[in-house]
Amino acid sequence: MNRLLFRDYYSLAISIFISTLLLLPDVPIWCFSLGILFWAWRLFCHVFDFTVPSRKITGFLSFLALAVILLDFRTLMGKEPAASFIIILSGLKALEFSDDSEKDFLVLLGFFLISSKFLFSYDLMYLILSLPIYALLTLNLFPSEWLKGHRTDALKYLGKVILLAIPLTAAMFIMLPRITKTLLEIPTNSRQGSSGFSDSVSPGSISRLSQSNELVMRVELFNNRFNLSELYFSGLALEKANQMTWLHLRTDEGITLSEQPVETDYRVVLEPHYKNQAFSLKGTDRMSAEGLRIYFDSSRNFRFDTYLEKKAFIQASMAGVRPLVSDAIINRNLSQPDFSNLSPEQQQQLENLIKSFKESDATAEQISKNILKHFATGGFRYTLNPGEQPQLNLYDFLFKYKNGYCEHYAAAMAQLLRLSDVPARVIVGYHGGEFNPLGNFWTVRQKDSHAWVEFINSQRRWLPVDPVTVVAPQRIELGFNMYNSIVNDLLTEEEIKNKLDGTDLVSRLSMWFDNMNYRWSTFLLEYDFDKQKDILKSLNISLGTGLIIILLFLFIISVAINLFQRRGVRKNFSELCFEEINNWASKFDLQKKDTEGPVSWQERIIGALPEKAQTFLPELNKAFSIWINLSYRQSLSLNDSKKSLTEIRKIMKRG
């Protein structure tokens, strides 16, 4: 029994183990490790033929795991504690598995395990990976004796079942109303997202985020055409400065609920990042998402009312001009850094620099240009890997190192603007992305993280400016991905051209899959209750009628399956003939005995009905002869059988 799982149910073990592995990014590492540990324990028992732990032990361990999960998450509700518990439970179930009868429960756990992955991600890749796992799990529901000797038959049978299930599933998905509402107060911020930004940005923190290839969002633009260099998605506005470190001020001042866009200018499918940041293009005036509320402040920075823990489908519209900025905001964004820790010479050096920016009657725009010019000509360099420098101060950056990533330049420029009496702040978000010409959308990843500056111009409106455009213009023109490839991979001119055109096979395949993934995600996200209502409305069908159609469809499928199966059920012609003869004989109170053969019965009829036998004997003999022929000749064709039955019916009618 110690070897039962890996010997007789290895496909079940593999599928559940892979399902566990797929959940690695979504559950705490200790839960995942514990699940894997139980699998290792089972494998150890298998290899060395050790006794597997009893149910009492595994039951106690399950209880213990439940208690620890409760302590860790402070709740048992929610997808993370649930997925964590299922991982541990399936590990324990695999550990104690010692009987064929436990197989079904393990399969059920496997179904939950693989399905729980989709609570965290809609990604088509996971779905494709999960399909063989679903098939293997379902295959293991067949009787094990059958699987051992008839694996091919079982696979064919499973294929037929799945083929029948697909149209039924599609019908239910399209027609069954699916309203959505939070059933329970499920905690939402129980894990850290791998995309988005924290409230504080210090030198090196954005460059660290750029190491991640995590998908952040896909953006589809409808009315306006943007060049890559213009694609800035604002996330957080950082208004409080401490040397080169900038902080986000949490305030509900002037917060307003965004209305539904009248016309959609662009659509964002935002991956869950477990923060409240919504990323918007410059000039966005309205944003809305199904099932979520989006607010904006007086500077048109958008955010959710809750932490985003499911994929959001956002529609947005853009207005030409940004609103005027209030005095309070201007004052808030003028606060200057403290340079008391600098030596008098250093302070003087800094003051001289600022004076050079502030020429007589220079406007905010002019000062901004002067600063950019200083970065362009002052020997500053752009580096992809500056390392973490949280203690870096403005002086050291400007006069000593002159080397940094986007957040260095943004932080320094915003400080310089403020020192020049221009209200300014740092914005963190994303720049660029990869354009997919097949799907006409942009894919933005965490590596596209970026920081830039906004200052209030002479018209009292926020104006963005990106110092990287002068330090490393290729980074902005080509995007991070391409720039990174050029710098790190030392691409040839032709390779750069191919990459830009997306003509190489790998790029095209990647784009094709990304497009499929995007369409799949948007199809699922879009197909909600409202969409269902719209479709029914367009077909002039009420919700009630839709439900009736579903029931009717189920009924038709049911009848079809039965008819399909019944088609092969051969009528027992022998029994039908027997019934004909029996019905005839019962008129004379004669009935065949179970112990009586056809010939004996025939003789008994003749004996009991001598008068009838005289006239009817030849025909009766013929009827019996046909019946005997039908009963004992299995190879009689269907047509011959039918003919025989018709003939007996005729004879018995005459008799």
Binding site: F105, T169, F173, S558, K593
Partner: protein, 320 residues
């Protein structure tokens, strides 16, 4: 005296009933259905359309499986169900032949449950248009006449999500003969003694004895069936065969007398069963006189069976 011997040897025609199949979710089916509901609750809570899709897929599998399980049992019938009579404390056998009437699909994993005797087996496959016979061994401690047990054919194929069953009743009886036991020698009599005692002719005492002694000339008291025609052809005279048992191996039991003398009814029944069985096995002639003074000649298998059946159901009340 309630003891009666029926004059007809053939039992009444009895009927069999094979009912239509029924179906309910199995225990695992309930868990599976519960799992679908949990998924729908999750999809509802998290507005997750993909989980809805998965839940609907499982629901479709459940719906299709219901039909498949039902159809798996639908085309299967019992074409033969036979329980042979057997002796008490010995093993009898039950033979059940299942027939798959479907011309395309095999019936798979059909459980045959002989309810009253708590006997079960699983037939893994019955190919289309074919038969499968299963045999069970049956042991009974008590003698008597028993009804054929109900048979339940059931299946959970393919996914153990539904339990479909068909109950079949078979209005037929079988007998558990009394145990063959006893040390007494059978009461053998010679033909002459019996002829005098019972006022019988030789024709009545025709036997199927085995030890041939020789020929004697035919007399009108001899059974004409015993004429040896080969000898007639040679000698043009009628001769009959004579056998050893004719003078020593005719067993006669006066039924009432036999049971009156011995107080232990069960012991007597077992003894008589042994004599009857031995006589049948040794082709000896066995005579029984019943309560109406009728002599019964146990000269073929059916009659032996009849008397064994009678012994199976004999009770003290029959002699009240």
């Amino acid at each position: 005296m309630g003891l009666k011997f029926q004059s007809k040897w053939m039992p009444d025609a009895k009927t069999k009933k094979q009912k239509r199949p029924f179906i309910i979710p199995s225990r695992f089916g309930f868990y599976f259905g519960g799992g679908i509901l949990v998924l729908i609750a999750l999809a509802y809570t998290y507005a997750n359309q993909l989980i809805y899709l998965i839940a609907f897929f499982y629901a479709s599998i459940l719906f299709i499986t219901m039909h498949l399980t039902n159809n798996n049992i639908k085309s299967v019938e019992i074409s033969e169900y036979f329980i042979g009579n057997f002796f008490q404390d010995e093993n009898g056998s039950i033979k059940v032949t299942l027939q798959n009437n479907h011309s395309k699909y095999s019936a798979r994993f059909i459980q045959v449950d002989i309810v009253d005797f708590d006997l079960k087996t699983v037939v893994s496959e019955i190919p289309p248009n074919s038969y499968k016979t299963v045999e069970f061994s049956l042991h009974q401690k008590n003698r008597g006449q028993f009804e054929y047990s109900k048979i339940v054919l059931s299946s959970k194929f393919p996914f153990n999500l539904f339990y479909s069953w068909k109950r079949l009743t078979w209005a037929e009886d079988f007998y558990v003969y009394p145990a063959r036991d006893g040390a007494q020698e059978p009461p053998y009599s010679s033909e002459d003694e019996l002829s005098k005692k019972l006022d019988l002719t030789s024709a009545h005492l025709d036997s199927k004895s085995d030890n041939f002694l020789g020929h004697k000339e035919y007399t009108p008291f001899d059974n004409y069936k015993r004429i040896d025609w080969k000898v007639y052809a040679r000698k043009n005279k009628f001769f009959v065969k004579t056998f050893e048992t004719e003078s020593s191996r005719i067993c006669f039991v006066d039924f009432l007398d036999f049971f009156k003398k011995v107080p232990d009814l069960e012991k007597r029944i077992r003894q008589l069963t042994k004599w009857v069985f031995d006589a049948q096995k040794g082709n000896a002639l066995f005579l029984i006189r019943n309560e109406n003074d009728e002599i019964m000649f146990l000269d073929d298998r059916k009659k032996y069976e009849f008397i064994l059946k009678k012994l199976s159901t004999l009770s003290a009340k029959d002699f009240a």
